[in-house]
């Protein structure tokens, strides 16, 4: 009886870890702030106000949440199959490219269908692109971690080439922008007079879709099994290769949709800096949310608030927004440390029982 109780307590301790880590990171940054001569309480106040204090602030936070949530989901979903997709940044750009091509074509001028086609193109482009590392992993055993990271740079340069050349808007001379997509294929604003677009609904649907896929469907069971124990999955007759392909396709597809949402909802055209490094923060978010769709949503919201709050902090107090990056990094470091401690404790009890 006592053993059970202890187990439960440890598990709940584990779920507290991300929150504790966040708290510690804020404390450390407060020390840095006060060393720089800024009152940390005031700075955090400004940050909080920036993220939630006004309709604009909230809308901005939610717009950022949308992208971070989708990308975090992309990373988390791949990790359910023990595949590291660190290439969501690249897949986002490829997805955005696909969506832009649809948005500026004749299909983009059809209402509703234009938006759906853009999202579909984002999914297909991003998903197909993510099959490259999957194929290399399955065929030649090349680590997907390396391939996905490096492909990010390939994509960024490829997009830059397109925007300076073939895809460049013929009406501008200087800016490396694509033409603007048809207004029919732009996501509607759901909160008037702000930037908040319907993408947040797409993100919410994506959470539900991923949850259903993983826990209710056949392919989800296979994917989870391969991720949990590849040896047992193979032994039980599951198709490991198929699982890796499917999960990479879905993961890349979700990243591609993120790109499509950014084009359709925020920029309305393709630019080089359409993502300010969301793909890299996404990895932190997936870790922080423990690869659980709902955990990812909370983590994404937290980071979005952090980002939009620190922008305001920079404008109001002149505190460089690199401090926000410091904060993000510290959160990650504390989470990793916290994970180790949480695991250590469980491991200890199990070990003692084994020796018996």
């Amino acid at each position: 009886m006592k053993v059970e109780l202890q187990r439960k307590r440890l598990i709940s301790f584990r779920s507290c870890v991300p929150f504790l880590s966040g708290g510690f990171a804020f404390v450390v940054v407060a020390i840095i702030l006060s060393l720089a001569g800024v009152n940390p309480i005031m700075a955090y106040g400004v940050m909080l106000k920036g993220a939630f204090g006004s309709l604009h602030g909230i809308a901005d936070t939610l717009v950022k949440t949308t992208s971070l949530l989708l990308l975090g989901l992309a990373v988390a979903v791949a990790f359910k199959c023990k595949v590291w997709n660190l290439g969501t940044e690249g897949q986002l750009y490829i997805g955005a490219l696909g969506a832009t091509l649809i948005g500026i074509s004749i299909i983009g001028s059809i209402p509703i269908l234009g938006i759906i086609a853009m999202l579909a193109a984002g999914f297909v482009f991003g998903g197909c692109f993510a099959l490259i590392p999957a194929a290399l992993k399955v065929k030649f055993g090349i680590s997907e971690i390396i391939v996905t990271v490096l492909l990010n740079f390939v994509v960024l340069l490829f997009i830059a080439y397109l925007l300076h050349g073939p895809l460049k808007d013929p009406t501008t001379v200087f800016n490396p922008y694509s033409p603007v997509i048809f207004s029919e294929s732009q996501l509607p604003i759901i909160l008037p007079h702000t930037r908040l677009h319907a993408g947040i609904i797409i993100a919410a649907l994506a959470i539900i879709a991923v949850y259903v896929l993983l826990s209710k469907t056949k392919i989800g069971f296979e994917i989870r099994s391969v991720g949990a124990n590849i040896k047992a999955a193979r032994y039980a007759g599951m198709n490991v290769t198929k699982s890796i392909f499917v999960i990479m396709g879905i993961s890349g597809g979700i990243a591609g949709i993120t790109g499509a949402v950014l084009v359709s909802g925020v920029q309305h055209l393709l630019i080089e800096g359409i993502s300010p490094g969301y793909g890299f923060i996404a990895v932190i978010i997936a870790l922080l949310g423990r690869n659980n769709p709902f955990g990812v949503a909370i983590a994404a919201f937290f980071f979005a608030a952090l980002m939009s709050g620190s922008e305001v902090m920079y404008r109001m107090l002149g505190i460089p927004s690199s401090l926000a990056i410091t904060l993000q990094a510290l959160v990650l470091i504390f989470v990793l440390i916290g994970e180790i401690f949480a695991r250590l404790q469980i491991h200890k009890t199990e070990n003692a029982m084994k020796n018996w």
């Binding site: 047992a232 007759g237 018996w356």
Partner: protein
């Protein structure tokens, strides 16, 4: 069922058992008298005396008020199932743990043993189940490592070799001090471990499950050496859970169960049946499984392996020219020392390892290099060696684990979605059929005991409508009760017409249940014989790679 309930039933059983076996159980307190006598009379007293030892790990009591004595010049067996507290008790004596309460006397002196080096100074050495040797070094180097005399700049290997040869001769432990440990057989490595202790002039040896990895020949040689040691004044504590060994080699036996001493008996005054009853707490049949009648006509072959070769893990040809045919309704036992290709053979049949050359057919259909799922669908069940990590997904619930092989079929799922209700129904049935004890249906199985985990895999594999069943070390680490249960299940499968291929390191198990016995050695099946035409010695020789001229 909570832990409290389990312990309640356990203690109830224990009380009942103690009533039944009053003759063999002695009240541990009566041994207290010995302490007084002991202090007065040091020469005749035990060389090791452990009194009222209690040791806990967290909430688990590994040893409870245990009293144990070792006389000079005896082999004292510590008998008990896994988790009975044998290894804990000896680890306390060897200084690996500290007891919570209780006292230890060694050679008449009260001893506090804080570390293995304390133990060695007191003349106690322990040979672990897994050897602590460096494979790249010579026997001599392995033996003298860590000794004070070696702490100068130069080693005096010649002198050490001389002493090793002396010990080797004295006790009949044949060894070449110059050879590299990596080239030695398991039996020889064990001798090195024993000599390592003797080299440090100990007179008390603790052997933890020393026969686990030996061939019968090596086992015989070990027992002879042990007898010669005790004849020359050494004392030995012999930890085991195998009844046959205890009867063969020990002088006295202390039986442990659930961390308690349930009996101290003289080997000459007991029997395997009595010991089994003490170990388990109820009557079990030892080696008495019915054989069934052997029909005159040869039944049809269900699995035929023709000249199969396959690569091992290091990409060299490991299975060589395997020829084997498994008949309907028989158990074919494959004996062999660990690592001679048993795992590779099972994997090749199950489609988990590529067939390089040769042909495998099941029920007349070629299955070589089909996918694991295709082979399963054609009628294979497979209980793998590493049940915990290959046969199960530990973070999954029992329901998910039970459908691990059939989740994609009707009625467990439709085209797209899983059907949890049907899965649950199936799980309930298997749990009832196989008497699996569960705490919570949806909890990860990692919290369940080894025996129950084995039953999950068994339940899943045996509930398939299969033609061939491969079982690999199905009872390793299980207690007598669970072992008996699994053997009965195998016999039941055989009687239902399934061809059972039993790969096992436990020769007793193979001799108990199989109809025919094959021996695998260095990736080859070197012989297959009818069970009645063979005996343990012949199989033992074959396991060591020696073909017998007949």
């Amino acid at each position: 069922m909570t832990i409290k309930d389990i312990s309640k039933t356990f203690f109830a059983k224990l009380a009942k058992f103690q009533k039944n076996t009053k003759t063999s159980v002695r009240d541990p307190d009566s041994l207290n008298v010995n302490v007084r006598n002991y202090a007065k009379n040091k020469d005749n007293g035990p060389i090791v005396f452990m009194k009222g030892i209690t040791c806990r790990f967290g909430n688990l009591i590994a040893n409870q008020n245990i009293t144990f004595d070792l006389k000079k010049g005896e082999i004292h067996a510590l008998l008990g199932e896994n988790g009975a507290g044998k290894t804990t008790l000896t680890s306390l004596l060897y200084g690996l743990y500290q007891p919570e309460s209780g006292e230890i006397y060694v050679k008449g002196q009260h001893a506090v043993i804080r570390s293995p080096s304390d133990a060695i100074n007191l003349g106690i050495a322990m040979v672990h189940q897994h050897f602590l040797l460096t494979l790249a070094h010579s026997v001599t180097e392995n033996i003298i490592v860590g000794l004070k005399s070696t702490k100068g700049i130069f080693l005096n290997l010649d002198k050490a070799e001389e002493k090793i040869l002396q010990i080797s001769k004295k006790y009949g432990l044949k060894i070449d001090p110059k050879s590299t440990v990596g080239n030695l057989s398991v039996g020889e490595q064990q001798r090195v471990e024993i000599i390592k202790g003797l080299y440090r002039d100990v007179d008390i040896l603790i052997l933890d499950e020393p026969t686990g990895m030996l061939t019968p020949m090596e086992e015989k040689a070990l027992f002879e050496a042990l007898r010669s040691m005790v004849n020359q004044g050494l004392s030995i504590i012999f930890i085991t859970h195998k009844l046959r060994e205890v009867m063969e080699v020990s002088n006295r036996i202390t039986v442990l169960r659930g961390g308690n001493v349930v009996g101290i008996v003289k080997t000459s005054e007991t029997s395997e049946d009595e010991l089994a009853r003490m170990m388990v707490g109820r009557t079990v049949s030892v080696n008495q499984i019915s054989q069934g009648s052997i029909s005159k006509t040869t039944p049809p072959t269900v699995l035929e392996i023709k000249n199969v070769s396959a690569l091992g893990n290091s990409n060299v040809l490991f299975l060589k020219d395997i020829r084997l045919d498994l008949r309907k309704g028989e158990i074919l036992g494959i004996a062999g020392v660990d690592g001679n290709g048993q795992n590779e053979l099972a994997e090749v049949i199950a489609g988990l390892r590529k067939v390089k050359y040769g042909e495998i057919s099941m029920d007349g259909r070629s299955i070589a290099n089909l996918s694991p799922r295709q082979i399963r669908e054609l009628g294979l069940s497979y209980v793998p060696e590493d049940c915990l990590h290959t046969g199960l997904i530990l973070e999954y619930s029992i329901i998910e684990n039970l459908v691990l092989d059939r989740w994609y079929t009707k009625p467990y799922s439709n085209k797209l979605f899983l059907n949890k209700t049907e899965m649950m129904k199936f799980a309930d049935k298997i749990i009832a059929d196989f008497e699996i004890k569960i705490i919570e249906l949806n909890a990860p199985v990692s919290s369940m005991s080894g025996g129950n985990l084995q039953k999950i895999v068994l339940g899943r594999e045996l509930s398939r409508d299969s033609k061939v069943l491969i079982v690999h070390n199905p009872t390793r680490g299980l207690d007598i009760g669970a072992t008996e249960y699994i053997h009965k299940q195998l016999i039941k499968q055989k009687e239902n017409g399934v061809g059972v291929l039993l790969l096992s390191l436990d020769l007793d198990e193979i001799l108990t249940v199989s109809d025919r016995i094959g021996v695998i050695y260095e990736g080859k099946i070197i012989k297959i014989v009818e069970k009645q035409n063979t005996d343990i010695d012949q199989i033992g020789l074959l396991m060591g790679g020696k073909a017998i001229k007949t």
